[in-house]
């Protein structure tokens, strides 16, 4: 079931909470307590805006166990406006064609389900930015 494993990541998964380095002000996601840029301790929490743009994208057809029901699903790397790059699924695309550079925003969705009676894992996905300025 791994309940604790997902529970302890709730701030990251549901709210995109990362860290900010007190020394060099680098915004860090996922949180790692040590700044990847300057190596200093960085434990100050930082709330990301959730906005960013598509860095790259594809579609998963051959899904791993736990995701078979969702396939095919769109997968992307998103460059957050504060700097970090994250991997996540795209959602709410409708019939929109995805492009590199497309503005997107974070939403909370179901990531996976472990069978009919298993746990549902929720987390961030990204959808096209509503009211996007072109």
């Amino acid at each position: 079931m791994e309940t604790s494993r997902h529970w302890r990541l709730r701030q990251q998964r549901y709210a995109l909470v990362g860290e900010v380095c007190p020394s060099c002000e680098q915004r860090i996601f996922p949180p790692r307590d040590l700044c990847p840029d300057c190596g200093e301790e960085a434990r100050e929490l930082y709330q990301f805006s959730g906005r960013g743009e598509v860095y790259s994208f594809t579609t998963v057809y051959q899904a791993p166990a736990g995701f078979e029901q969702e396939a095919p699903y769109p997968m992307a790397m998103v460059r957050l406006e504060e700097g970090p790059l994250v991997t996540a699924q795209l959602t709410d695309l409708g019939d929109r064609a995805v492009q590199i550079g497309m503005p997107v925003e974070m939403v909370t969705r179901k990531l996976r389900s472990d069978g009919e009676r298993g746990m549902l894992v929720y987390g961030y996905k990204f959808r096209p930015l509503l009211n996007a300025r072109s």
């Binding site: 790259s56 057809y61 051959q62 791993p64 997968m75 790397m77 790059l85």
Partner: protein, 395 residues
């Protein structure tokens, strides 16, 4: 002054099973077959130390503790033995550990065997097992697979460097051509540019020919310290002139620039420096082409092409057997087949066949210096070795 021969570490035997779907052969039998072949080349030499390179046996075969399993099954009980795991770089990492152990003086002869059994399970189980080498909390939990990640990587590469849609085709064409005459290859058939263009999409823009097939296999390499070389070896031993391993971010999204592989660059630089060689002196490069985009990035990281230009070497014949820098000379992961943790040992064994003049129709003529690089994950681990064939006078 230390004796340079005594200080050197030499490869005195190699063995490989064909890569493929070995329905009738178990993990331990595959390992045994490769080990026996490697030991036979060194007069049955008995190693004191065994490193087993493996990536997925705990997940796919319910089997860990492979060091003892293999030592026991191969008639080598008593030897020191353990598993080395570094995802797809396990083979190179295990060779590196054996090299270090021999250099330490604690052992005189070491066996490195890579073995992988991937075809006992269905594809979603294999995808899940492969995904354990990613960041479980921030990559795999989103349903990311190895193949999808390579597609993300490839799209960005083509986009950022303004490369055409078929820019990476040359890597697959070269690999398939070289595998035709390789008796241990999985796909012994050539493909044409047209086949690549018409190939089924796996995860756009990545097609069937951009991804290596995963299958079963085992490859073994026997190493001996220079001052303990057995007399009357059938083949002139090959020296490991450089050995280095380096890490980068685990997750692709955490790389400072996902289109630059710092671990590959750093381990290549250090291995060549140890060997006292410049990149121009490398005569063949067994790079790790699990996905075609990795081949381009490996050429760039090693300094054989400028950033964003690695794909061009696959367009102009430079990487063919007769080219300036032959790569994947026996078909690479793409056509020989990728056997997970065993892949790094296939690469080394193939480079040894080249340097010892035993490559048959795949021979790169006059090759005396080979670079061999094994990658784990999205370039998170790189193990790079320089192999050198010395002249018979030992100069």
């Amino acid at each position: 002054m230390a004796n340079p021969i005594a200080e050197g570490i030499y490869i005195v035997g190699v063995g490989m099973t064909p890569v493929g779907e070995h329905w009738e052969t178990s993990l331990r039998h595959l390992a045994l077959e490769a080990i026996q072949a490697a030991r036979a080349e060194a007069g049955g030499l008995r190693p004191q130390l065994i490193y087993v390179a493996n990536m997925l046996a705990p997940a796919l075969s319910g089997q860990s503790h492979l060091g003892t399993l293999v030592a026991d099954f191969a008639g080598l009980r008593g030897a020191e033995a353990m598993t080395v795991e570094a995802a797809g770089a396990s083979g190179g990492a295990a060779l590196r550990q054996a090299y270090l152990a021999l250099r330490s003086g604690e052992a005189e002869a070491a066996l490195v065997v890579g073995v992988e059994k991937l075809t006992d399970k269905g594809s979603s189980e294999v995808e899940s097992a492969l995904a354990t080498a990613k960041d479980a909390d921030y990559e795999s939990v989103h349903g990311l697979t190895d193949t999808a990640q390579a597609a993300l990587w490839m799209r960005r590469y083509l986009h950022e460097h303004g490369a055409p849609a078929d820019a990476l085709a040359g890597f697959s064409l070269t690999a398939h051509r070289n595998a035709v005459t390789n008796s241990h290859a999985m796909y012994r058939r050539a493909i044409e540019a047209e086949d690549y263009r018409k190939a089924a999409m796996v995860s756009e823009p990545l097609n069937l020919y951009d991804a290596a097939p995963l299958a079963d296999g085992a490859a073994a390499v026997l190493l001996v310290r220079g001052d303990r070389l057995p007399p009357r070896l059938p083949h002139q031993p090959t020296r490991i002139a450089g050995s280095a391993m380096s890490t980068a971010a685990l997750a692709l999204h955490d790389q400072i620039d996902p289109l630059w592989m710092p671990a590959a660059a750093e381990s290549t630089r250090r291995a060549l420096q140890q060997a006292g060689l410049q990149p121009e002196e490398v005569q063949l490069f067994e790079l790790h082409d699990r996905f075609s985009v990795q081949a381009a990035l490996a050429l760039e990281a090693a300094g054989f092409a400028a950033r964003g230009q690695g794909w061009e070497l696959a367009q102009n014949g430079a990487i063919a057997l007769q080219g300036r820098l032959p790569v994947t000379t026996f078909g690479g992961s793409k056509a020989r087949g990728d056997a997970g943790g065993a892949t790094g040992l296939y690469q080394v064994a193939e480079a040894v066949l080249q340097l010892q003049g035993r490559a048959g129709e795949n021979q790169v003529f006059g090759a005396r210096v080979a670079l061999v690089q094994c990658l784990g994950g999205a370039g998170g681990t790189a193990a790079t070795h320089v192999l050198v064939q010395e002249s018979k006078t030992g100069e």
